[in-house]
Symmetry: C2
Subunit: 198 residues, 2 copies
C-alpha cells in the first residue's frame, strides 16, 4: 500500500512564494506565522513541508542562490570571452528590477557568514558556482592560475560594486566605475600561446 504520493511541486511552489515574501519583507525577522498568512496557508502546512524553521531558512537560502546564479549563468554561457561574459553578468545584476532580490542575497550572505556551520553549502557555492562559470568563459587556452585569479577578481569587483549600488543607489558613479573595470578586461590581451584560442 503506497498511499497518496508526495507532491514535490507543492513544496517547490511554497518555497518560491516564501522567497518572494523574503525579498519583499526582509530576511531578518522571518517567522512561520507571518509567512503563512501571506501565503494563505496555516503554519502547520509550512512545518509539514519544510520541517523546522532552520530548514526553511536553508531552503530559502539555496533557492535564492540558485535564482541568482541562474539569472547570470545563461548569459555567461553565450559569451565569446571573459570580458563579454563579465559585461553580461554586470548588465543583469545591476538592473534595478533585481535590486530587491540582491538586497536579500546580501542579507543572506551576511547572515551565512555569521552561521557558517548551518549555511556551509551556501558559503561553498556562493563563490564556487560563479568561479567555474567564469573560468570556463576564459577558454581552455588560459592557464589555470591566471583564469582563477581573473575570475576571482571579476566576481569580487562585481559584488563589491553591487554592494555600493544597493547601499547608495548612485547609478552614475557605480556604472562609471564598472565601465572602467570592464574596459580593463576588454583591453587585456587574449591568451595567445603558439596557437590561437579556438
Amino acid at each position: 500500500m503506497t498511499g497518496r504520493p508526495v507532491n514535490h511541486q507543492r513544496r517547490a511552489d511554497l518555497l518560491d512564494a516564501a522567497v518572494e515574501y523574503a525579498i519583499e519583507h526582509g530576511f531578518a525577522d522571518l517567522s512561520w506565522r507571518p509567512v503563512a498568512r501571506a501565503l494563505g496557508v496555516s503554519t502547520t502546512t509550512l512545518v509539514h513541508h519544510f520541517g523546522t524553521k532552520e530548514q526553511m531558512l536553508e531552503a530559502i537560502l539555496g533557492r535564492l542562490r540558485e535564482r541568482a546564479f541562474a539569472a547570470t549563468s545563461d548569459a555567461v554561457g553565450d559569451q565569446p570571452d571573459l570580458a563579454a561574459a563579465a559585461r553580461a553578468v554586470w548588465t543583469r545584476t545591476s538592473d534595478p528590477l533585481q535590486w530587491a532580490e540582491f538586497r536579500l542575497f546580501f542579507a543572506v550572505y551576511g547572515r551565512a557568514l555569521q552561521a557558517p556551520r548551518q549555511f556551509a553549502e551556501f558559503l561553498d557555492r556562493v563563490v564556487a558556482d560563479w568561479m567555474s562559470a567564469l573560468v570556463d568563459a576564459q577558454g581552455p587556452d588560459t592557464d589555470a592560475a591566471t583564469a582563477t585569479r581573473t575570475a576571482t577578481l571579476v566576481i569580487a569587483t562585481i559584488r563589491g560594486l553591487l554592494l555600493d549600488l544597493l547601499a547608495t543607489g548612485d547609478q552614475d558613479r557605480v556604472q562609471d566605475a564598472a565601465e572602467s573595470f570592464l574596459a580593463t578586461l576588454e583591453h587585456r590581451p587574449p591568451p595567445q600561446s603558439g596557437t590561437q584560442p579556438r
Copy 2:
C-alpha cells in the same frame, strides 16, 4: 538642582561590550536578555542606556562602522599615493584576526540593505567615508571624475575580495587576486601635472 550627572562613558563602555558580543555571537538573533547576561548587567540597565532595541541596534551599527573605518583610515592617511593606501587597507582588512569583526560588518551591511529607512545613516556613510579618504589619497592633481571612479573601484574590489575570503577562507586564491589588482594600481601612471587625465 542638577542631580547626578550623566555618565557618557558608561554608555560607551556598554556599547563596546555589546559590539564584542555581536562579533562573537552574531547579529541576527540579538536580544536584550542574552546580551545583558553576557555583560553582567540587567536588561533594565541596557534599556536605560539605549532606549529601545532598535536604537541599540543602530548604536551597534554605528560603532561598528566607526571601528571598521578607524582601522583603515589611519593607514590611508600615512600613504603617499592611492596604490600604497589601497595596499595598506587590504593588508589590514584581510588580517585573519579581523575576520570575525568583518563577518559582523557584512551581516550588518546586509541587514541594513533590507531596512534602509532604519539604517539610512549606515548606508550613507559605509561608502562615503571610505570614498573621501581614498579620493584624498589620490592628491589634488587627479581630476575629480577619475579620482571618484578609482576610489569606487578600490572600495568595491576590496570588499568583494573580503566577501570571498570570509566565505571560502581561501587565503591563497584571494590574496593572489588582490595582488593582481594592487599591481594594476601601482603600475598606473601617477597624475602628471599639466597634462593627462587618461
